[in-house]
């Protein structure tokens, strides 16, 4: 699943790759304190613009960390919260295929 960033989520690039990074405003409205500790993880999550579970597993493999259910749950909840509050919009399947 891909996302389209709306207000509060900054769409930019890192090393030529599109990334979505939550601003403070988005974080404040959501589950900030839990997520801030894992900011890099979340940034990675947004970088890939996929669902968190696969991403975190990918990240865990990359950084050789044991999967941590607590972190997964926090990030999943944060992402859902961002969608619910309108900071992230899931792209319809057709748009996702288009690009």
């Amino acid at each position: 699943m891909k996302y389209r960033a709306v207000e509060g989520i900054v769409s930019t690039t890192i090393f030529g790759k599109p990334v979505l990074i939550p601003s403070r405003r988005a974080m404040d409205r959501c589950n900030t304190i839990q997520v801030l500790s894992y900011r890099w993880a979340f940034t990675w999550n947004m970088l890939e613009q996929e669902k968190p579970l696969e991403l975190i597993l990918k990240m865990n493999r990359m950084f050789c960390r044991e999967p941590d259910e607590v972190i997964l749950e926090q990030i999943r909840a944060f992402e859902a919260d961002l969608c619910k509050k309108g900071f992230l919009v899931e792209l319809p399947e057709q748009e996702e295929q288009d690009g």
């Binding site: 930019t12 090393f15 790759k17 990334v19 601003s23 403070r24 890099w40 950084f63």
Partner: protein, 255 residues
């Protein structure tokens, strides 16, 4: 609340800062400008950020204020091409080596290990949150010319309090994590840039700042040697890092 005003010199930039607790000033003692010394256009925490800072619940703990100010001062310094980042900054052969990584990953352990393996060879510019001074433009004048980035000490030195008084030109960056085995590898890729981005300290209030820091992470990874170091055991991983640093083809002008 009667805020206390202090005048600081951070990364070569005069900064005007208001404190909620007068006791917080003690942590900035080495960086305070003498009272009455003229300052040209000091940097201040912008109003929007300052309001956010005031909204933070700090309790009655000056230490919390000292720590929380980092993000807001880092934002303020961004207009002067400076940013505070979470890293141990070592001085080695006239250049700065940054060891970046999450809290508790072993930055101080690696720093202490390098100093033990090569007594007198490694200094510490800043033990926890150095200030990076970067160019306003990353355009190179010549193919071999590397833009100069300076690593400055700061008032945030970590629990060991390691710091010295002088800046050094950035030489390279080590992205440290824990792993099942000791491994070091060059990393000139998007994952390295993302990890470096995450080490920048910021309030994330202004979207333009987020874009600027994303660009800075990209340019640093493009222009400087970056390694990922996975550490399973010290001192073996430290020896691996030392061997890598000592065998790297450093530009002559940095020695």
């Amino acid at each position: 609340m009667n805020p206390t005003r202090i005048k600081l010199m951070l990364g070569g930039v005069p900064v005007d800062c208001l404190l909620r607790f007068p006791e917080t000033a003690a942590w900035f003692a080495d960086y305070q400008l003498p009272p009455g010394e003229p300052q040209s256009d000091p940097v201040m925490i912008p109003e929007e950020e300052w309001e956010s800072f005031l909204e933070l619940k700090l309790g009655e703990l000056p230490y919390t204020e000292y720590s929380a100010l980092t993000a807001f001062l880092s934002d303020a310094l961004l207009s002067q091409n400076r940013v505070i980042l979470h890293a141990a900054a070592l001085r080695w052969q006239g250049r700065a080596i940054l060891i970046c990584g999450e809290s508790g990953v072993g930055k101080s352990t690696q720093t202490a290990g390098l100093r033990r393996l090569r007594p007198g060879a490694f200094g510490v510019i800043c033990g926890d949150r150095p200030i990076l001074e970067h160019p306003s433009s990353w355009e190179r004048r010549g193919e071999s010319e590397r833009p100069t980035v300076l690593v400055h000490p700061s008032p945030w030195n970590g629990k060991e309090g390691w710091h010295d008084a002088e800046a050094a030109p950035l030489g390279g960056i080590v992205l440290l994590s824990r792993g099942p085995e000791n491994r070091i590898a060059p990393a000139r890729n998007v994952a390295a840039a993302v990890r470096l981005y995450a080490s920048f300290i910021q309030s994330s209030i202004r979207e333009q700042n987020i874009r600027s820091l994303a660009e800075l992470a990209t340019e640093l990874v493009k222009n400087f040697p970056v390694w990922t170091l996975e550490s399973a055991r010290v001192p073996d991983s430290t020896a691996l890092l030392l061997e890598t640093l000592e065998s790297a083809p450093w530009p002559e002008e940095q020695k």
